[in-house]
Symmetry: C2
Subunit: 175 residues, 2 copies
């Protein structure tokens, strides 16, 4: 199963692609998409993010996607900008028929480092170790790989449980 993780941002959106086979995680690719000159209009910058994500999807063909939930910035204008970037990125993901799981930064850190209070360098270091990389990825790419790893962990047990419950419910309502 190939996962893409996304750490959305208006200026820089991080992405990370991993292959998951049982407990085994294999690094595929990671990097950042830049929306370019802030002097350009917002629609053009969102278009650059959208096209960048589409290109990554067409290159690495992930089968599922996970994206970091955004926190509410103290500055409402920043919240609005980040929201729009996240909306454009999710549009790119769903336009390729990917299901999109959402995880908070807290859950990602708990899943990767073991504590929600983990620092960025700690996340980078653990991502490096878990994927057996020769050096730590940049912060945005590490966060994105972290989301992918978190999603891969969570998708294993709970998804099966949900399916079982759903089919039980369905058969009950049919009887």
């Amino acid at each position: 199963m190939r996962w893409i993780g996304i750490d959305p941002g208006l200026r820089t959106t991080g992405f990370g692609v991993i292959d998951v086979d049982g407990q085994k995680l294999t690094y595929v690719a990671s990097g950042t998409i830049e929306s370019g000159d802030p002097a350009k209009g917002l629609p053009e910058r969102l278009g650059t993010l959208y096209a960048g994500v589409k290109e990554v999807l067409e290159t690495y063909l992930p089968e599922a996607a996970a994206i970091e939930e955004v926190f509410l910035n103290v500055n409402p204008r920043s919240t609005l900008m980040l929201g729009q970037a996240r909306g454009a990125v999710i549009a790119a993901l769903v336009s390729e028929n990917l299901s999109v799981a959402e995880y908070s930064a807290l859950r990602v850190k708990q899943s990767i480092v073991g504590t929600g209070r983990a620092t960025k360098p700690q996340v980078q270091e653990m991502v490096k170790r878990l994927l057996r990389l020769s050096r730590a990825p940049g912060t945005d790419a590490a966060d994105a790989l972290g989301v992918a790893i978190c999603a891969a962990h969570h998708a294993q047990v709970p998804k099966v449980t949900t399916t079982v419950l759903a089919s039980k419910k369905r058969s009950r309502s049919l009887s």
Copy 2:
């Protein structure tokens, strides 16, 4: 020149399509796109908005787009939700290679009714008159048609000026 105007919202996004020939405005279509059951996840709802806008674009083939700027809600969570909806809608527009102009609700009201303090029924009534409709469109569709009309008005003089200035600058830097 065919314009599409958009009034973005997570629950309901309004759209309005008009043809502009000099001062003459002709109504083409308008309506709303619903993101569906709020119990569905946000990515799925954004996907519904994105697909809905794409369908409208493929049906009516507008040549330019204009979208209402969103105001900062007092509730930061609402701002974030609205931002994501707007990002997904803009992604759909730019994915069809449309340039996207942005207008504040204030400018739209000034352009349509003559005052930024215009009420929603006043906007609906003026949109009905300007487009010679037999009855007023719903509020979301009227707002979207208002954005399209505002964009058509503003696009006439200023766009030419910008082009002239840009080509002057270019020739200066080449000499």
